[in-house]
């Protein structure tokens, strides 16, 4: 039965203009859509195409294109297939619309993305700190945030240079290139 549902979904998505639609497998569909059209698409998928479960919202930081990519993974129990709706929003204002009214779990995904990437979702019920309650620095998962530099600046963790390590290094032993300097 799910076979013809898939076909029906393909031509449904096919005849919507300016939407890139690519079926990866019988259970995976990727859709690229404009940022202003995404809520309508989700409403359509939820209402008509039985995609009632929002399993995740993930965010990708394209720092070169100055853009965030938001991916909404919605799942249907009847067709047992996943639709990933990709959209791009500009990085600078980093503000987007919340889909809390469609899927209530979105509140937590959006709160997490807000904390990790700084994307502000208007209409989302709760935008406070979610997991990093002790963190007051910049959103850590943005690409311009250099975690290692932060660590070296705030934590004095490598001064542990006991005498036996110094003797080893004088004889030329020890590690020549430090593990963190190795770049593949």
């Amino acid at each position: 039965m799910s076979k013809d549902l898939n076909i029906w979904l393909d031509d449904l998505l096919g005849d919507i203009e300016n939407i890139q639609f690519k079926r990866k497998s019988s259970r995976r569909v990727r859709v690229d859509v404009g940022s202003e059209a995404l809520p309508a698409l989700l409403e359509l998928l939820q209402g008509r195409a039985s995609y009632v479960h929002l399993s995740a919202i993930s965010c990708v930081d394209w720092i070169e294109d100055e853009e965030f990519e938001l991916v909404y993974h919605v799942w249907s129990y009847e067709t047992r297939s996943l639709v990933s709706a990709h959209t791009r929003i500009p990085r600078e204002p980093g503000v987007y619309l919340s889909i809390y009214d469609l899927y209530q779990p979105a509140a937590f995904f959006e709160r997490d993305i807000h904390e990790m990437f700084g994307v502000f979702f208007e209409g989302s019920p709760d935008m406070e700190k979610f997991i990093l309650t002790e963190w007051d620095g910049p959103p850590p998962m943005r690409k311009e945030f250099d975690s290692e530099a932060f660590v070296n600046q705030h934590f004095e963790w490598e001064q542990y240079h006991p005498q036996w390590l110094k003797d080893l290094e004088e004889e030329g032993g020890g590690v020549t290139t430090r593990p963190e300097d190795i770049r593949l």
Binding site: L132, T133, E134, W135, G137, P140, S147, E148, F150, V151, F155, E156, W157, E158, Q159, Y160, E180
Partner: protein
Amino acid sequence: MSKLDNIPVRHQPTEAAGRKRTNPLAHVFDELVKFCQSRSMFMLHYCTGCGAIELPPAMTSRFDMERLGIQPMVTPRQADILLITGYVSIKTLKRIILTYEQMQSPKYVIGICSCTVNGGMYWQSYATAKVLKDYLPVDVYIAGCMPRPEAVISGMRELMSDIKSGRAQNWKRYYENYDHYLGNQQKLFGEDWQTPTDIIAEARHYGLMTDRTLGEHTALLEKHQRPLEALEMRLSAREKQKT
């Protein structure tokens, strides 16, 4: 912690400051208590990180820690050993310090997994504390990115021999160098960091105060500390304590 001499070295087993020992019999009694402390260690059932998954196999039928007299206990009040297993995130470190201060000494800390030694594979993460030793005195380290139960038990036996020989006195260092530890904690958690346990009063009560217990960091703590005196039973509020 930049100067090397500031690193507290392993504590020589000095005589217990609080008690003056005169008769030899007291020595025999001390030996018995030390032996019993080594043979009956209560382990706090608190999984701080990923390494805790190695503890159930150490307790169940194959390795059976109860042979060594080690029992898992639920609250810090009843426990002697605090196992810090796996990476130590800043959030968890607050709870670890709270739990450590709620434990009753002689108490021991075992750092399991290499993340407690020098940050391990999460050394680059902004959210983990790298060197556990800065924040509370650690007795035994068990390296390995999750050591097997045999390694955990060998670490326990190492601690048992330390206790029996009297070398495991690190818990005193927390009282004796409280300012050093508090400084590191305040550096991480901010100036207004405070735990409900009144360590300074406890050090004074048990006679473990030294000149290094109080310092600039504890002065900082004094400024904003909430009153922590015990609710003494009193008949009337006439002699109002200084609030």
